[in-house]
Amino acid sequence: MMKHKYFKKLEEQFFFGLMQLATVTILFGLLFILFTILWKGIPNLSWEMISQKPQGGFYMGGGGGILNAICGSLLLGLGSTILGLLLSIPIVIWLNIYAGQYSRNAVMVRTALDMLWGIPSIVFGAFGFIIMLALGIKASLLAGIVTLTLLILPIMVRGMDEVIKTIPKELHESTLSLGATRWEMATRVILRKALPGIVTATLLGFGRAIGDAAAVMFTAGFTDNIPQKLTDPVASLPLSIFFQLGSPFEIVRGRAYAAALVLTIIILVISFLSRLITAKYQKHSR
C-alpha cells in the first residue's frame, strides 16, 4: 500500500517535471529568436532602411533600404488575408449550417482541408507556377496573392470551423425557433458568437501569408520597385531576408536581421490592432 502511494507520487513528479521542461524549452527558443533578431537587427535598422527602395549595389553593401519588400509584403499579406476571408466565411457557414456539421460532405471537405494544411508552401508555389505557365501569366502581385490565399485558406477555414463547432446546438435551435432562417442565424448569431475565433484564425492566416517565402518565390517574383498595378512583380520581406542572408558581405547580412525585425514588428502591430478593433464587439461573444 505504502509502496504504491510512493510510486504514484514519483510518477506525478516525473510528469510535472516533463511539463516544466517543455515550457522552459519553448520559452527559451522564443526568447532566443527574439533576442537574436533584436540584437543583430537594431544596429542595422535606420530610417533609410525602411523609407527607401534599394539603390544600385544594395545587395553588395550599397545605399537604400527595403521599402520595396515592406510594401510588397503588406500588399501580399493583406490582399491574401482579405481574399481568404471572403472565401473562408462562406465555406465555414456552409460546413456548419447548410451541409450539416457532421454530414458526409462536410467531413470530406474537412479532411481535404486538413491535408492541404499539411502541404509545404513550396508545393503551393510550384503549383501556382505551373498554372501561371499554362495561362501565360508572369510573376505578379495578383499571382502571389492567389497562391498565398490557397496556402492560408485551410488554416483560416479550419481555425474558424473548430470554434463554430463548439457553439452549443441549443443556441442554433433557439435561434431557429424564434423564426430565423438559416442565413439569418449564421450571420446574426453564429458568426457573432464566433468572432474571437474568426479573428484568431484570420491572424494565423495573415502571419503565415506575410511570413512565407517559398510560395511567393516563383509566383510573385522580386523587384526593387514598388508595384503600381496587380500585374507587376512584387518584392517581399521573407525573400529579401533570404537574399541578404546569402550575401558574402557582413553589412548586408546584418540588414537581413533588420528586415526580420521589421517583419516581426508588422505582424505584432497588425495583431494588436485587430484585437483592439474587435474588443469592442467581443464583449457579447464571451
Binding site: G100, S177, L178, G179, V189, R286
Partner: protein, 253 residues
C-alpha cells in the same frame, strides 16, 4: 375532448437511421393549459417536442410520417414557410441560450426578424415581456449590457421573455429548469402558472414533482410510445396502466 385543439398529432412515426424513436403518436393537446410530458430518459420526449416546430429535421437521417396539426393545418404539408410556423410557438431550451448581443437586442431579436422596426413598439414589447418573465426589475437599468453577464437563472428568464415576445400561441419547454438553481426554477414555474391563462404550454420534464406542481394534463411516454394521457390528478393518483404506476412509484426510471 375539445373541438378545436391548437395542437394535435396523429399517427406520427419518427425514425432516425434504422431506429424508431416515436411509435404511432396520437394526441390532442388541451388548449390554454400545461401539459407535461414525462417519462424516463431516452423515451422520445424531446424528439416529440422537436417534431412540433420541425427542429427535428435538422438531425441526420430523420424520417417522419404522420401529421402534426396546428389549428387544423398539417405543419409538414401546409407550412412551406418555417418562419411563420415557428412564430406560432416559442421554445425554451434545457440550458439558457442568450444570443451574443445585449439584453435588449435579445428580447427584440425575434420581433425584428418578423419585420417590426418601430423602435417605440420594440421598446414597449421588450418591457412588457420582460415584466411577464419577472425580469424587468432586475434589468431595466442595464438593457444595453451583454446578455451573457446575467446569471444563469436570469438568462433563462430572458430566453422566456424572448420567446414570448414573438407572441406565439404555444410554448414548448424542454426541461427548462434542469440547469437552474431552486429559486430561479421557482420563478420560471410561477411564470408558467400565469402564462397558461393565455398559452398552450407543452412541458417536457423528468422531474415528477415539477409535473405534479404545474401540470393540468400529463402524458406518460415509454420507449417511444404514449402509454397514458389524461388529467394530471388522474395520472398521479389513479393511473390505469401498470407502467405508469411503476414510473410514478419510482420503480422504473
Amino acid at each position: 375532448m375539445q373541438i378545436n385543439p391548437h395542437l394535435g398529432i396523429s399517427q406520427l412515426n419518427v425514425h432516425i437511421g434504422d431506429q424508431q424513436i416515436l411509435k404511432n403518436i396520437n394526441i390532442n393537446f388541451p388548449n390554454k393549459a400545461i401539459t407535461a410530458i414525462i417519462g424516463p430518459s431516452g423515451c422520445g420526449k424531446t424528439t416529440l417536442l422537436k417534431t412540433m416546430n420541425r427542429l427535428i429535421e435538422n438531425s441526420r437521417g430523420v424520417n417522419i410520417t404522420g401529421k402534426v396539426l396546428i389549428n387544423g393545418q398539417n405543419i409538414y404539408d401546409d407550412y412551406e414557410d418555417l418562419t411563420s410556423l415557428r412564430k406560432k410557438m416559442g421554445l425554451l431550451a434545457q440550458r439558457p441560450t442568450p444570443l451574443p448581443m445585449s439584453i435588449y437586442a435579445n428580447v427584440v431579436f425575434g420581433l425584428k426578424l418578423h419585420g417590426i422596426k418601430d423602435e417605440k413598439i420594440l421598446q414597449e414589447k421588450a418591457e412588457k415581456y420582460l415584466r411577464i418573465a419577472s425580469l424587468w426589475d432586475e434589468v431595466h437599468d442595464r438593457m444595453r449590457d451583454p446578455a451573457s453577464k446575467l446569471s444563469i437563472g436570469q438568462q433563462q428568464r430572458l430566453c422566456l421573455a424572448r420567446g414570448l415576445a414573438i407572441e406565439p400561441e404555444i410554448i414548448l419547454c424542454d426541461e427548462p429548469t434542469s440547469a437552474l438553481d431552486p429559486i430561479s426554477s421557482k420563478k420560471i414555474e410561477e411564470s408558467f402558472n400565469e402564462l397558461k391563462q393565455e398559452y398552450t404550454i407543452i412541458l417536457v420534464t423528468h422531474i415528477l414533482r415539477q409535473a405534479r406542481r404545474l401540470a393540468d394534463y400529463v402524458v406518460f411516454m415509454y420507449l417511444g410510445e404514449i402509454i397514458e394521457f389524461g388529467p394530471a390528478k388522474e395520472i398521479f393518483e389513479n393511473p390505469k396502466e401498470q407502467l405508469t404506476k411503476e414510473y410514478i412509484g419510482g420503480l422504473i426510471s
